[in-house]
């Protein structure tokens, strides 16, 4: 069983981590959230192996974990006394790469980042994305269209540098 999980983990982690990084826009947070998602898969192993779309499930668990951490951070900031200084935000701190594409990805709305991650990293179809996110296929299509325009502009910018 352990070997099966290890193989599964090694095979899926790079792609899932990349998708989570894009979806949450923060590398450190993405690593933590991805680890939690795989731990939850391990805790329910071998049932996790039978999921219809394990990568979509892992991404969603990781995004929820990231949201929980943002929420906690927000509540803790309310609770703890604030030091004199600029307050922290839940927004990403560490960025994987300071280039035009990453900047454009990070600037997308959260939902768009998730759709982009699912479409271009996890290679899910629009119906699969719609099902995973609980939105209509039309919403996925229009979200992707907007995101595609913004990211394509960033790509063009990079190529002309």
């Amino acid at each position: 069983m352990d070997e099966d999980f290890t193989d599964w983990y090694v095979a899926l982690r790079p792609r899932v981590l990349r998708a989570v990084t894009i979806a949450v826009g923060d590398r450190d947070l993405a690593e933590e959230a991805t680890a939690e998602a795989f731990a939850r898969a391990l805790a329910r192993w071998p049932a996790a192996a039978a999921l219809d779309s394990p990568v979509a499930w892992l991404l969603k668990v990781a995004v929820n974990e990231a949201r929980t951490r943002w929420r906690r951070a927000r509540l803790e900031r309310r609770h703890l006394q604030r030091l004199a200084g600029e307050p922290q935000r839940h927004a990403p701190a560490a960025e994987p790469r300071d280039d035009a594409l990453w900047t454009a990805v990070a600037a997308l709305p959260e939902r768009s980042r998730q759709v982009v991650a699912m479409r271009y990293v996890l290679d899910l179809t629009e119906p699969e994305i719609a099902s995973t996110l609980g939105v209509t296929r039309g919403t996925v299509a229009s979200t992707l269209s907007r995101a595609r325009r913004q990211l394509a502009a960033a790509l063009t910018h990079e190529e002309t540098k």
Binding site: R89, P92, L101, A107, A152
Partner: protein, 443 residues
């Protein structure tokens, strides 16, 4: 011809991510989850007893019999109290729709029986009631320059964009006619010694600017509430200037107090909950007398009631950093310490952990306190992951509640009258690890 989809996929694949992490580091996390599930089975009998008794316990005002939170020793985190109500969405009666704005992430704003189509991008919008409708603050992206503030009429008329850009959360005047915010003129995340903000007061329905104070030091200096119709409390959280200031409209900033943060402002502006006192608590301050009435040492203020009589507070009955291993052999009186945290184990804490062994980090208490004395009046326990409380009347507060991470509803609790559903419970995802948020009350 370049295929933009292929090009994007290739480009995104080049974004570097973390190195390979060995699978071994997952085993501890997975063991923790297993442990919780074992404890869930072991604690089932205790949980049934507690829940059966608790879900129907009528809430009642305790006539001050419970010692105020402030009387608890400040050196350690205080013990959680015993809840008056343990929420069970399946047994709560159904009350009327919330009389406060709320959002259904499918794209609908609700206000009483009114509905308006509106798309909110952020998980953390702010919905504020104003005269004639409500204002919605939204983050359109993680880029702080992409925030928006719109007025949504309560009668279903046209939505009006009031402001956009790097704007702070809005505050509303006591009469609901005006709204104030700050525009950051620098980088909120890093800040520089030359960063400034502009404070703005505008008509809540049209966005017409009525007052403006440019060049205020600090890129995150912002209004935190109206003290009266013409005076705004301003929090200066910059490296170059800190503390609280007042802005009398038409004039400049006047230093007010040294505390570094505002946790809550009563709607009439007569009471403040301020962070940053030397003891680490949250002071509740009477503005007229400038006296600290009492200090909250457990929890975080969520909102004062409209007349300032009550303060809703959120708190964790079992700190989220406490692990099953910590509690496995713990006895009341033991001290659990980790990093900068420390908590004394109580029987209430152990009982709570036994009731929710599969995820006590999701369990919060919503506590209603007498705002002028700190006396506890009502304590509600449940899965309150959003922990946003909005007062809809002088005695009723509405908040998000979940049930077993399987369904969620907005719940109304009334001082002296118990709790009821304000919306029907909505099913979350079948999988508790991948739930969605069906209702948003905003911050």
């Amino acid at each position: 011809m370049i295929d933009i989809d292929d090009e994007l996929a290739r480009a995104l694949a080049r974004i570097p991510v973390g190195d390979h992490a060995p699978v071994e580091h997952l085993r501890g996390r997975a063991r923790r989850l297993h442990t919780r599930r074992r404890l869930a089975a072991a604690g089932a009998i205790a949980a049934v007893t507690a829940a059966a008794a608790a879900v129907v316990v009528p809430s009642s005002v305790r006539d001050g019999a419970e010692p105020p939170v402030t009387d608890r020793p400040p050196a350690e985190e205080p013990a959680p109290g015993v809840p008056d109500v343990v929420l069970d969405l399946g047994t709560l009666g159904r009350g009327p729709e919330p009389a406060v704005p709320w959002y259904e992430p499918a794209g609908t704003l609700h206000f009483g029986t009114e509905q308006a189509p509106h798309v909110i991008e952020s998980d953390y919008p702010a919905l504020r009631r104003v005269d004639g409708g409500f204002v919605v603050w939204d983050e359109l992206s993680v880029d702080q320059a992409e925030r928006s503030l719109v007025f949504v009429p309560g009668n279903g008329g046209y939505t009006e964009e009031i402001a956009g850009g790097p704007i702070s959360l809005p505050v509303v005047s006591p009469d609901g006619i005006r709204v104030a915010w700050a525009v950051s003129n620098g980088d909120v995340d890093t800040g520089t010694s030359t960063s400034t903000s502009t404070l703005i007061v505008a008509d809540a329905t049209t966005g017409e600017v009525q007052e403006e104070l440019p060049g205020v030091p600090g890129s995150s200096t912002k209004p935190m509430g109206f003290l009266d119709d013409d005076t705004i409390l301003v929090e200066a959280g910059a490296n170059t200037v800190s503390g609280l200031h007042t802005w009398e409209l038409g004039g400049g900033l006047t230093p007010y107090r040294d505390e570094t943060g505002v946790a809550a402002v009563s709607p009439a502006g007569d009471l403040l909950a301020l962070t940053g006192d030397a003891g680490g608590g949250i002071d509740v301050v009477d503005v007229a007398s400038d006296a600290t009435l009492w200090t909250l040492r457990d929890g975080y203020p969520l909102a004062f009631s409209p007349d300032g009589r009550y303060l809703a507070v959120g708190t964790e009955p079992v700190r989220n950093w406490v692990t099953p291993e910590d509690l496995a052999t713990a006895r009341p009186g033991d001290v659990i310490a980790r990093d900068e945290h420390e908590v004394t184990v109580t029987q209430d804490m152990l009982d709570t952990a036994a009731r929710y062994p599969d995820g006590w980090e999701r369990i919060e208490h919503l506590v209603i306190l007498d705002a002028r004395t700190g006396a506890e009046l009502l304590r509600v326990e449940g899965e309150l992951p959003e922990l946003t409380a909005v007062w809809e009347s002088g005695t009723s507060v509405v908040f998000d509640a979940y049930q077993d991470s399987a369904e969620a509803a907005l719940v109304r609790c009334t001082v002296g009258a118990g709790c009821e559903l304000a919306t029907d419970p909505a099913a979350l995802d079948d999988d508790p690890d991948t739930y969605d948020v069906p209702y948003l009350l905003g911050s």
